[in-house]
Symmetry: C2
Subunit: 220 residues, 2 copies
């Protein structure tokens, strides 16, 4: 059916997924330790080949399910990495994605591990670049969307929300200004529940009005 004047290059299409969560006030990424060459023993992003008739985003969702036990979270295409030398086995083009998962929902499969995004050294392939790019994108996304909903449980306190922002932006935010701005956006609403059990005053629990992605005018 196709008729080309030049022979077409042999290229493998694959997907890598940067799975983010915020835990212990830190932005963390799910990595897997490679068993086989190349880069045996190194950490790498979970990834896999596109299957017949499968969209890249569907492949990312499949990887999330199989390698992190997670479904129904925010997933977005990040960038396509196509460096000629990125995989010594041959020409691999990776359509990288990133996903946002609430703390505790990540059930890493055998060999998977959550690692602070600030601590990455000597990853396999070009996965360091991919993660750096993803962190950048996530930061700028925070500023004009509500995607943070996908990093939090259904009900959460204002402090938890603020800690997520602080972890991603890597800087402390003023509590009163944070609440003022977030209130003015009207994205969340209080529930009738409070936390209990801490050695301190109980906190009101909030929930997002919308669990769909929204674009905001301006933000942080």
């Amino acid at each position: 059916m196709l008729n080309f004047s030049h022979p077409l290059p042999r290229i493998q299409l694959m997907v890598d997924v940067v799975i983010f969560t915020v835990r212990n006030s830190q932005l963390e990424v799910l990595l897997v330790r490679r068993q086989k060459e190349p880069f045996a023993g190194s950490y790498a992003l979970p990834g896999g080949y596109l299957q017949e008739g499968e969209l890249a985003e569907q492949a990312a969702i499949r990887i999330l399910r199989d390698k992190a036990g997670v479904t129904n979270v925010y997933v977005e295409q990040l960038y396509t990495f196509d460096g000629l030398q990125r995989d010594p086995r041959g020409r691999m083009v990776s359509v990288a994605h990133f996903a946002l998962v609430p703390e505790g929902k990540v059930l890493a499969a055998e060999g998977g591990e959550l690692v602070p995004a600030s601590n990455l050294l000597k990853l396999a392939f070009d996965h360091q670049d991919i993660i750096e790019y993803a962190v950048q994108r996530l930061r700028s996304k925070l500023e004009y969307t509500n995607v943070v909903y996908s990093l939090l449980p259904t009900k959460f306190t204002y402090s938890e929300l603020q800690r997520v922002y602080e972890a991603i932006l890597s800087r402390p935010l003023d509590k009163r200004n944070f609440q003022k701005k977030f209130n003015s956006l009207a994205l969340i609403e209080p529930t009738s529940e409070k936390t209990s059990g801490g050695q301190h005053r109980p906190a009101l629990l909030y929930k997002f009005k919308n669990n769909q992605r929204e674009e905001l005018k301006k933000f942080f």
Copy 2:
């Protein structure tokens, strides 16, 4: 060398390029009229297959040269479009790029035509989606980078600069506020030259200090 448990899908990797220019105060896109099926007679984006050992961005640059006669302009990867039905001939995955070209530098090859980005109807494949996505990206890019340098000649007047912004954002801007903001960014500097020949007061010509992409704090 590769050893897979599942047969890998047959996928063609290609590149489409959204080539933008601003002409007559309008944002325009270079389209080519298709000679062959599918979509014979429809307008489509210039594009082509990745060649052996060629990066997607290099392919985009090659297409810019061959189809628009343009070199040395701003090019950026946009998004990877991988819909299963986007090409009736088979599974084509397109790593779409966009490029910014100064007015008058586009020398469309045979069959190429600059078309206002607001006027697009019934394009081939999913090229309508690609262009809409590119326009969105370009708008948001204007707000926090200086990429506009790549849409202007080396020397230009403040009015020309403003018209580029207005064309892309599709809204009029206040002349004094525009100059004030742009001056505060210190991206451009006056030359010693002025325009001549118009039936009006001559305008100072400016140039960009830097023809490298820069990130800005905030902008429009």
